[in-house]
Subunit: 398 residues, 2 copies
C-alpha cells in the first residue's frame, strides 16, 4: 500500500487550506502529469526548475547568472509533501512540493524493489475535453457539445419533452458552482449549453482555442475545468521581482537546504513548460543506470494530443551530451539529442532526458560489454547520483 499524493490535494486560498478535487486537477494538468507519492524518493533538477522559471517569465537565463558550484545538478530528495493548487486568477494548476535532500547513499538496488516507476496518472473515466471554437466563445450563441461526449458524460435527457432540456450544475477547482442549461435541439439535433454558458466564458476569460473539460465522477458530480491554449498568460508580473533574482533564488534555496540538511519548497506548473524537474528516483535510476542507450538507437516517447489524449512519437537518438557543459556539467538533464520521425514533430524538443524515452531494444538490468555500453561505476561517489552517461566525446567525466 502506498501513500498517494492524491489524498493530500489542497489549495491555498486566503491563507486557508481547502481540499481540492484531485481528479479534476489531474484532468486539467493533462494525462502525462504524474505527482510522486509523499514519502517517496525523487531526483530534483535545479536546471529543469530554472527552465520552468525562464519559460514562465519569457526570459532567457542570463549568461552572467551565477552558477552554484556547491549545488549538484541532480539532488536526491525525499518528497515530504505534495499539494495541488489552482491559481485564483488564471485557473492554472500547479503543485507545491517540499523536498528534503538526502545525504545518505541511496542503494539503487533497493530502489528498484519499489514498484513506483512514475507511471502517468489515470485520467477520469467519464470525461471529455473540447477545444473551444469561435462560435463557442462568441457572444452570439452557446456551446456546442460533441454528441458522444454529451451522451457519455452528462445525465441523459428526458427526450419526451420538446425540446428536451435539463439544468446542469458543475463545480470547478475553486469549488464554485456553474449552472448551464443543457438542451438538445436544432435541425439536425445537437447538444447545446445555452443559458449560463456566456457567464462562464467571460468569467474564465476563455477564448477560441482554449479547452474545456467536463467530468462525471463516481459520486455523480459534474466537474468543470479549463485549459488555456495561450501560454503567454503565464507571464510573470515583473513589477516586483527580477527574473535574475528568481533564478538565483531557486538555486540558493536548494543549495541552502542541501548544505544545512533542511527542506526546501518548489512549485511545479505542469502546463507552463514541459519541464518535469522532480522525477521519481526509481524511474531515474532505471533509465540512467539500467537501460542501455546509444547513438542511433530508436525509441518511442509519449506526448499529449490536443484533445488531451496520449500519443507515441518515434525518434532516433542522435547524440548524448551535456546540455550546458559550463554551468551544469555532469547533469543528466536533457542529455539525449534526438531526431523525430514525423516532420510535424520537429517542433518538439530536440533534447530529452533518459527517463522520458522508451528505447525500442531494451536490455533489462546491467549493461553488457557490446555495443555502446554505459560505463557503470560503483559504489557511487556520493549519495547524489552523478554518474555521467555516455557522452558524444566518449569521455566519462566524473
Amino acid at each position: 500500500m502506498r501513500l498517494s499524493s492524491s489524498d493530500v490535494a489542497q489549495q491555498d486560498e486566503e491563507g486557508e487550506n481547502k481540499c481540492l478535487n484531485s481528479e479534476l486537477w489531474h484532468a486539467c494538468a493533462g494525462p502525462l502529469i504524474y505527482l510522486p507519492p509523499v514519502g517517496s524518493h525523487v531526483v530534483y533538477f535545479p536546471q529543469g526548475h530554472s527552465e520552468q522559471i525562464a519559460a514562465s517569465s519569457k526570459k532567457e537565463i542570463d549568461a552572467h547568472n551565477p552558477n552554484y558550484p556547491s549545488l549538484s545538478p541532480q539532488l536526491t530528495c525525499q518528497l515530504q509533501n505534495v499539494t495541488m493548487h489552482v491559481d485564483l486568477e488564471t485557473d492554472e494548476v500547479y503543485a507545491r512540493m517540499t523536498l528534503q535532500p538526502l545525504t545518505l547513499p541511496v542503494q539503487k538496488d533497493v530502489c528498484l524493489l519499489s514498484s513506483e516507476l512514475g507511471t502517468p496518472s489515470k485520467q477520469p473515466a467519464n470525461y471529455f475535453c473540447k477545444i473551444l471554437t469561435a462560435s463557442d466563445t462568441s457572444t452570439h450563441g452557446g456551446f456546442s457539445v460533441p454528441r458522444r461526449a454529451a451522451e457519455r458524460v452528462f445525465p441523459s435527457l428526458d427526450y419526451s419533452q420538446q425540446p428536451p432540456y435539463q439544468e446542469l450544475i458543475a463545480r470547478d477547482l475553486h469549488d464554485n458552482e456553474w449552472k448551464f442549461r443543457h438542451t438538445f435541439r436544432g435541425q439536425p439535433k445537437r447538444h447545446l449549453l445555452t443559458t449560463g454558458w456566456s457567464v462562464f466564458v467571460s468569467a474564465k476569460r476563455l477564448v477560441a482555442g482554449d479547452s474545456i473539460i467536463f467530468i462525471w465522477n463516481e459520486k455523480n458530480q459534474l466537474l468543470v475545468g479549463i485549459r488555456r491554449a495561450n501560454r503567454l498568460q503565464t507571464v510573470m508580473p515583473t513589477s516586483v521581482f527580477s527574473s535574475d533574482s528568481m533564478h538565483i533564488g531557486l538555486l540558493a534555496s536548494a543549495a541552502h537546504a542541501a548544505a544545512t540538511n533542511g527542506r526546501f519548497t518548489v512549485f511545479y506548473n505542469p502546463r507552463a513548460s514541459p519541464s518535469e524537474f522532480v522525477v521519481p528516483l526509481t524511474k531515474y535510476v532505471k533509465a540512467v543506470y539500467h537501460t542501455r542507450v546509444s547513438v542511433g538507437m530508436r525509441f518511442r516517447m509519449l506526448f499529449e494530443t490536443e484533445e488531451s489524449n496520449v500519443r507515441r512519437f518515434m525518434g532516433t537518438i542522435t547524440g548524448v551530451s551535456d546540455l550546458d557543459p559550463v554551468r551544469w556539467p555532469n547533469s543528466h538533464w536533457r542529455t539525449v539529442k534526438v531526431g523525430w520521425d514525423e516532420s510535424i514533430a520537429k517542433e518538439r524538443q530536440p533534447r530529452v532526458s533518459f527517463w522520458e524515452i522508451e528505447p525500442l531494444t531494451t536490455f533489462p538490468m546491467y549493461p553488457s560489454v557490446s555495443g555502446f555500453p554505459l560505463r557503470l561505476k560503483r559504489p557511487w561517489p556520493s549519495g547524489l547520483p552523478s554518474f555521467p552517461a555516455f557522452k558524444d566525446d566518449g569521455m566519462s567525466i566524473n
Copy 2:
C-alpha cells in the same frame, strides 16, 4: 549638472525597450516617489526589499527563512542604471535599478557636498487626479469631471455651441491612444466625458475607488494614467515560484554581488508597499549621522493624500530599536518607533526610518554632547554604513 533618471525612462515590452513618459510615470507613482539619479550613491536595504516582496505576495516572511550573515543590512551602492516601467496587464508602475555595491570606504563629508538629498520629484503642473465614484465606473453613464480640474487641464470648450463639446485624445504609459468626448451640459451644467469613457473603464478594469490622472504637458499633449485603490491585485501568481525562494533570491542576489564585486538588479514598485529600500546616500548619511534624534522628540513626516497631494502628519518618537534584532541586527531600517498625533493616522506605520522623518528641533551637522546624542564612530569600520543608532537598551551593539 546632474544626470537625471528621468532621462532614461524606458519600458520592457516584448523584449524591446521603448521610451516611456517620465512625467506620467511620476504622476502615477505619486508625489513622494523619488528615483535617485544614475551614477549617484545610494543605500540598499535588503530588509526593506524583503518587505516589499512580502507585501506583494501577501505572505509573512517565514521565520525559518535563512539569514545571510555575510549580507550587510545596508549596502552602499552606486546606482548604475534606473529605468521606469509599467506592467502591461495592470498598469502598475515600477522601476528597475541596477546596483553596484561599493567596497571602498565612503567619505560622508564628501557625500554631504552633493546637493542631492532625495527631495520628492515635482509633480506635473497641469494635472488632476480624481477618485472614481460608483457613477463614474457604472455602465449607466460617463465620467463627471471636477469643474476646476476640467478648466485647468483640458482645452477650453467653444461655449458658443449648445451644448459645447470636443474630442479629447489622451495617451497612456503604453503610448496607447484613448478618445473621449468631452462635453458641458446638464442642469446645473457640468463637465462630462461620455463616448469613449466606458471603453477605457472596461479596458483598464477600473472600479469605484480607483483613481484617474489627466495631465496636460508642455507639449500640449493630454496624458492619462490610472492608480488602483485595491492593492490586492498586486498578488503574485505563486503558480511557478514560492515566496520563500523569492526572499532567498533577493538576499542571495545581493550577497553574491557584494561578494564578487558584481552588479545586481532590483525592482521597485512604489505603490505595492511603502518600502523605499533604495535611499540616496546623502539623505541617509544626513539623517543617521548628522541629525540628533532622541526619544520624545517631535517630528513631521510627509504622506500622500487620497487626491495625490502631500500632507504633513505630526508625531512623537517613542523609541529607537532594531526592527528585527535576530535576522537584521544593526540595521537602520525602521528603527524609529513613533506615535501619531491624529487618531486617523494611527493606522500608519508604527515604525519609520530616520530619513523619512523631519525632526522639529534639528541641530545641523555633528551631534553635541547634550540630550540623547547619537554616538558617532569614525572612521567607519567598513565601506558599508553599519553604525547602530541609539537603541532602547542604550547599548551600542556594533
